[in-house]
Each structure stands twice: as structure tokens, then as C-alpha cells.
């Protein structure tokens, strides 16, 4: 697929539909994997951006200008991302969106900071929709970076909040990948649990190498014999899927609270065994009560992109907040848009989202959901889907975390 061409085509058709020929385009560079092993997760988001942009363009665009989403395949490699970043700037992009991989996000934040410092007048903004390392809105925070996903500590706060209400959970097992992110998840879990439920015992804190484990059965058996009542994991990709498969196979029956249980293919690979086992925390799920427009959107997405499910709800938040900010600022230029974004709130399908001004971290309610066979919308083209658990709605305040950000703002 010629990503760029398709996007241009999509933009062009919507322009024609409106008959507005004179409009400029606002160029968004989507820098994420579009090939290779991580291609699917990039593509799921890419298609979401395309659809969101199409809808905005159909309704007259932003300040009369059309949005164009340009895809750049970074192969989840930080260096290649920087190459693609330069290409994007050449192609006229003023907004960068990226989400897969904290290493890539870190590289892009640095690159955007340096670019903006070295090229005044040509500033670009970076909208991060999925890289969750807390540091990006704490010690590494930047005026040019906005995060539209809850960061790891916020997700953990949601999980621990939910656990705190469940009196039947007396012990928790932590398992994660042995690198910065996995370690951060584990220490956040320990810290927050001891604060909210000091009586809960952490019966295991396991770190395994990233992407190297083929068979998780021994880990699961350690979990089972530890007698844990719940498991928390920040695992993603194959490490998540293989962990859950082994858990299902070994007859583990405690809730597994994951960050990425909703990622593509996870539910399908577990099948019925996932019911009641696999939990995830996210900013919205398709089976929540929502407006008819939202249902229509979910169905339209599924129809257009049958391989994927409506998962990246936050992509719509990115685009809607951008539109609102740009219209408040009265221009599509990055600096005024960035200033307008600070403190901006929108009502989205599943609640209110506010861009906190001090660290550019979005604040929104989070939901804990579990795999179920009694749902309106299934995922992975099977009948299983995500259902909100009891007391699974975590309010925006409960998930909010303090920040250490000391932001430097341009004049």
C-alpha cells in the first residue's frame, strides 16, 4: 500500500466532496511501524488516524484547512525514526504523531526539541498517543510534546484503585519484562499497593528478559504455587500473549491485570479461556454505553478495516482536541495550537479529557474491563469482547498523578 498516496487520496476525495478547492492542508506525519513484526499495531493506529481525519475534513476541516495524514514507516527503530522525521519535515509536516515504543518516543522528543531550538519559525509538535513511560511528562517533559494516553503510573493507579476495593484480593504477583518500563511498572505497583492496601502481600516480583521467553509455563506455575489472588503485568507484544496462553493452559483462574490485554490478537489467541482471566485498563472500550454516533463510528471503522478493531479511541481524542485548540487559537500554527491545547478539555464518547497544562499529560477517566462472551462488539473477529468489570470505572481524579515537570515555554 502506498501509505502516503492513500492518505492524500482520502484527503482529496473529501475535499472534492465539499467542493472547497482552495483549502490548505495541515500535514500530520504518522511515524510508526507499518511493516515488519510490529506493522499491525502501527497500522491499527494509522487507519484510525485516517478515518478521524476524513471525518474532520468532511465537516469542513480545521479553520478551513484539510488534514492530511502521511505515513512513515519507522520499523520501531529510533534511528530510522529520526530519518523518517527529517523526511516528514521535508514533506511539510508540522505535527508528528507516534506511539509504538518508548525508545522511539524518547528519540523523537529529543529530536523535536533540538529541531525547534535550531530552526525557530519551523517548529513542530509531537503528539504521543501511546508511549507511556512516565518520564516523558515528568523529568523529560517538553513544551513540544503532548501525551494523549494515560502513562504507566496512571494506569497502575487505576489498577491499584480497583484492587483496593476488592477485599477478596489478599496477595498480588507482579511479572514484567526486564527493562526500564517493566521495572517502572513493578515499582509503581509496589509503591501504590503499599499505600492503598498495606495488608496486601506482594508474593512475587518477577522480571524476565524482553522478548526472549518462549514458554511461560514455569512462570505461571510459580504464580500458581505462590497462591496469588491477582497478577499485574505491563507485558506487551509476544510476551503478553504467551504469558496469557500459558496462564490459560495451566488453569490459572485469578484476574490478570494488564496494560496491553487489548492489543491485537490477544483475545483471539486465548479464546474462551480468556473469559474472566484477562483484564485490561484503557481509556474506553467499545462495549461501554455510548451515543449512537459512537456506535456508528465503531461500525464504520470495522467495515472499512476488517482486520482491525476500534481500539485506539484516543486517536479521536488527539484529532478532536487538535481541532478544538486550533479553532480556539484561530490558526493551525504549532505554537499557538500548543498554547491553546494547554488546559483544554473536550467531552469525548467515554468522558471528559483534559490536557493538563503543567506537563502536557492528558487526564481522563480509565476503565478496567475483562474478556467476556456477552458483549455487543467482539474483537479479533470472534464473539468475545471487553466488558466493564464491577466498579471498573476509575475517575479522572483517582488516576491523576503528580508531576515533577518544570517546563520551559517559548516566549
Amino acid at each position: 500500500m502506498n501509505f502516503r498516496k492513500t492518505a492524500i487520496l482520502a484527503a482529496a476525495t473529501s475535499v472534492l466532496a465539499l467542493g472547497a478547492a482552495s483549502a490548505d492542508t495541515i500535514k500530520f506525519a504518522f511515524i510508526d511501524p507499518l511493516s515488519g513484526p510490529f506493522g499491525p499495531s502501527g497500522e491499527a493506529a494509522y487507519t484510525s488516524y485516517q478515518l478521524a481525519a476524513e471525518h474532520i475534513n468532511e465537516n469542513g476541516g480545521v479553520n478551513g484547512d484539510m488534514i492530511e495524514i502521511m505515513g512513515y514507516d519507522n520499523k520501531v527503530n529510533p534511528k530510522e525514526s529520526l530519518v523518517q522525521f527529517q523526511k516528514a519535515i521535508d514533506d511539510g509536516a508540522r505535527y508528528i504523531v507516534q506511539g509504538n515504543g518508548s525508545s522511539v518516543a524518547a528519540a523523537l522528543i529529543e529530536a523535536v526539541n533540538k529541531h525547534n531550538k535550531r530552526n525557530p519559525g519551523d517548529e513542530v509538535l509531537f503528539f504521543n498517543y501511546a508511549a507511556v513511560t512516565p518520564a516523558f511528562t515528568n523529568e523529560l517533559c517538553s513544551f513540544w510534546h503532548f501525551r494523549f494516553d494515560a502513562h504507566a503510573d496512571m494506569k497502575m493507579a487505576a489498577i491499584t484503585d480497583w484492587i483496593a476495593e476488592r477485599d477478596d484480593i489478599k496477595s498480588v504477583y507482579l511479572i514484567g519484562q526486564d527493562y526500564v518500563f517493566g521495572q517502572a511498572v513493578a515499582s509503581a505497583a509496589e509503591g501504590q499497593l503499599s499505600e492503598k492496601r498495606p495488608d496486601i502481600e506482594i508474593v512475587g516480583n518477577e522480571l524476565h528478559p524482553l522478548g526472549k521467553v518462549k514458554d511461560f509455563t514455569p512462570y505461571i506455575q510459580k504464580i500458581i504455587s505462590s497462591g496469588a489472588d491477582a497478577v499485574i503485568t505491563g507485558n506487551w507484544g509476544a510476551d503478553m500473549q504467551l504469558l496469557m496462553k500459558a496462564a490459560a493452559e495451566s488453569g490459572s483462574e485469578v484476574p490478570y491485570l494488564t496494560f496491553y490485554g487489548g492489543s491485537k490478537g490477544a483475545v483471539a489467541s486465548l479464546g474462551e479461556d480468556g473469559i474472566g482471566l484477562l483484564h485490561q485498563v484503557s481509556e474506553g472500550i467499545t462495549n461501554l454505553e455510548a451515543s449512537d454516533e459512537q456506535y456508528a463510528l465503531i461500525e464504520e471503522y470495522k467495515e472499512r478495516f476488517p482486520d482491525y478493531d476500534y481500539y485506539y479511541h484516543r486517536v479521536w481524542n488527539v484529532m478532536d482536541m487538535f481541532k478544538k485548540a486550533a479553532e480556539e487559537a484561530g490558526t493551525n500554527d504549532p505554537i499557538p495550537v500548543a498554547k491553546a491545547l494547554e488546559g483544554l478539555s473536550i467531552e469525548h464518547a467515554y468522558g471528559t479529557a483534559t490536557m493538563r497544562a503543567e506537563d502536557h499529560q492528558i487526564q481522563q477517566p480509565l476503565y478496567i474491563s475483562v474478556v467476556s462472551d456477552d458483549v455487543k462488539y467482539g474483537v479479533d473477529n470472534i464473539d468475545l469482547g471487553w466488558e466493564l468489570v464491577d466498579a471498573g470505572t476509575i475517575s479522572m481524579d483517582a488516576a491523576e498523578q503528580p508531576t515533577t515537570c518544570e517546563m520551559e515555554r517559548p516566549e
Binding site: 514455569p218 510459580k222 500458581i224 495451566s250 488453569g251
Partner: protein, 310 residues
């Protein structure tokens, strides 16, 4: 006690799975000198073929047909690809399989899509065989053990009790001799490559539903197979068997050990605040095979049971 029982059970079942996967590579590597980088890709093909066949008929048919299909693909690859590259030496052959691995993965992505397919354990075996210490041991894993042992016996019979096997065995240890025996060497090579690939395919049929059948499964398994073959020693199926079990057990037991380096080497004054001290044995489990590989190559290049050096 629990640790030991779990370690043994999982170590053996995982080890046998590794053996299924690596026995084919041992055959190919020992005889043809080709370090087949695409071996794990054939394993992936096995899983995907089984998924397709299971969809249109049943797992039990797939169990027989899928490996045969993979073997045929392997034979075709040998006949029209590898044989052509053979005169350019082993490095060229190795690079050919290196490129082939890329290619198979991309073609699988086009044919089957980029995400995991829903390849399930057959319902007949989808129950817990027994339960110990609260964890259930699935019946399918027992079936895997059974198949792996059957395969070992079958291979052993083929090699020791049939004429073709004797030729192959001679060729395993003395590859240059076979040409002198007046046998059709290219044909034997094609057969060995095909059989080797079929064995990988069988492993794919068995493992694809325990793990995840997606285009990344080949890359995941790739390097570990080499470890088994090299550690076991060239020309030695027994070595590959031993190495598979060793690696399976090593990994599984290491997972059960929660000690950190600081606790082990504490007498050297290592603190658990230092980066080295923080590392725990269990977190190292998955990289242990590679450590084993490097150590074996440095100190015993012929492998555990091999007769000659690489």
C-alpha cells in the same frame, strides 16, 4: 519440591519440543553442512499449514499432512535453490537460507495476514490431564511428549534399521564418503533436506497451538535451534536430544531460582543496589542457552556428543 517437580515436567516437555524442532536441523547441518537459517521458518509453515488443514478437516489429518507438505516445500527449495548455490560454498548456502527466512515470513504475512491466527489445541485433548500443587498439566502437553518420543524412536529406527538410514548415518559422520559409495548424492541431499524440513513442520504443528501462530514465531524460535544443534554436536541426534533436554531443564529450573547475584556473590561484597547485584538468576533463564553456546564452542567445540569440531 514443587520447584523440582515443575522444573522437571516443563523442562522435559519444552525440551522435547525443542528436540522436534532441532532434530531436522541436525540432520541437515550434519550432512549437508548447511546451517539452515530458514529452519524456524519451516516450523512456522508447519503451524500455518496445520491451521489451514484443521480449518477444513481436522487436527488429526493436519498432524500427518502438514509435515508432508512442509517437507515437499523443503525438497523444492533444495532442488531449485540450494543446489544451485551449493558450488559457491557454505557461506553462500547459509546466506541463501538467511534470505529465504525473510521471504517465507513475508509471504506468510501476505497469505495469512499479519496477526495471529486462531490455531487451537484439538478439543479431544483440551483438558487438564492432572493437577499438582494447584497447577494443571494439560493433556496436550502429554501428547506432545508422546509424539516427540515416537518421533525419536521412528528416527532411530529409520537411521539404524533401514538401508537409507545407514547411508544417511554414514553421511552424517563422513559426508565426503557418500559420494564414493556410488549413491545419488544430490537425491539424498534433497531427501534429507525435505525430511529435515518436515520434522520442523511437525514441530510447528505441535507447538503452534501451545504458543502463538503468527508471522513472528519463526524469528522467536530461530536462534535457539542453533544452540541445540551446536551444543549437542554435529552428526549426533543423541546429542541434539540431550542438548534439548538440557536446555529445557536449565531454563525451567533457572526460572524457579529467585536468588539474586548479590545473594550469591554477597561474600565478594556485592550489594543488591549495584546493577550486577540486582540481576536475579530467574531473569537470566532465557539467555542461559546462549551462554551455554558460547562456553561450549570455546571449551568443547565438538559439542556434547559430537565426534568432530564444527
Amino acid at each position: 519440591m514443587e520447584t523440582i517437580v515443575f522444573g522437571l515436567l516443563n523442562g522435559v516437555s519444552y525440551g522435547l519440543l525443542l528436540f522436534m524442532l532441532s532434530s531436522g536441523l541436525t540432520l541437515i547441518f550434519s550432512m549437508m553442512g548447511v546451517l539452515n537459517f530458514a529452519h524456524a521458518a519451516f516450523y512456522m509453515l508447519g503451524a500455518y499449514f496445520a491451521f489451514t488443514i484443521t480449518g477444513s478437516s481436522s487436527f488429526w489429518i493436519a498432524l500427518f499432512i502438514a509435515p508432508v507438505l512442509v517437507g515437499l516445500v523443503g525438497a523444492v527449495v533444495e532442488r531449485y535453490g540450494l543446489r544451485r548455490v551449493h558450488p559457491n560454498g557454505h557461506v553462500a548456502e547459509l546466506l541463501f537460507t538467511f534470505g529465504l527466512a525473510y521471504l517465507i515470513e513475508e509471504v506468510v504475512k501476505i497469505v495469512y495476514g499479519k496477526t495471529a491466527v486462531d490455531y487451537r489445541v484439538p478439543e479431544l485433548l483440551d483438558f487438564a490431564a492432572f493437577e499438582i500443587y494447584g497447577a494443571s498439566f494439560p493433556a496436550y502437553r502429554i501428547f506432545v511428549i508422546f509424539i516427540a518420543v515416537a518421533m525419536l524412536v521412528g528416527l532411530w529406527f529409520l537411521l539404524k534399521r533401514t538401508r537409507a538410514g545407514l547411508i544417511i548415518q554414514a553421511a552424517l559422520t563422513h559426508p565426503h564418503m557418500v559420494g564414493h559409495l556410488g549413491h545419488n548424492v544430490p537425491f539424498i541431499f534433497m531427501m534429507v533436506f525435505g525430511i529435515g524440513c518436515a520434522l520442523a513442520g511437525l514441530a510447528g504443528v505441535m507447538a503452534g497451538n501451545i504458543f502463538v501462530t503468527d508471522p513472528a514465531m519463526a524469528v522467536q524460535m530461530g536462534p535457539i535451534v542453533f544452540v541445540v544443534v551446536v551444543v549437542g554436536g554435529i552428526g549426533s541426534l543423541e546429542g541434539a536430544f540431550l542438548a534439548s533436554l538440557l536446555i529445557g531443564l536449565l531454563q525451567n529450573f533457572a526460572v524457579g531460582i529467585n536468588l539474586k547475584f548479590a545473594e550469591i556473590f554477597g561474600f565478594l561484597g556485592m550489594s543488591d543496589l549495584s546493577e550486577v547485584g540486582r540481576i536475579s538468576v530467574s531473569s537470566l533463564a532465557p539467555v542461559l542457552p546462549f551462554l551455554l553456546l558460547v562456553l561450549i564452542l570455546i571449551f568443547r567445540p565438538q559439542g556434547l556428543l559430537g565426534e568432530k569440531e564444527l
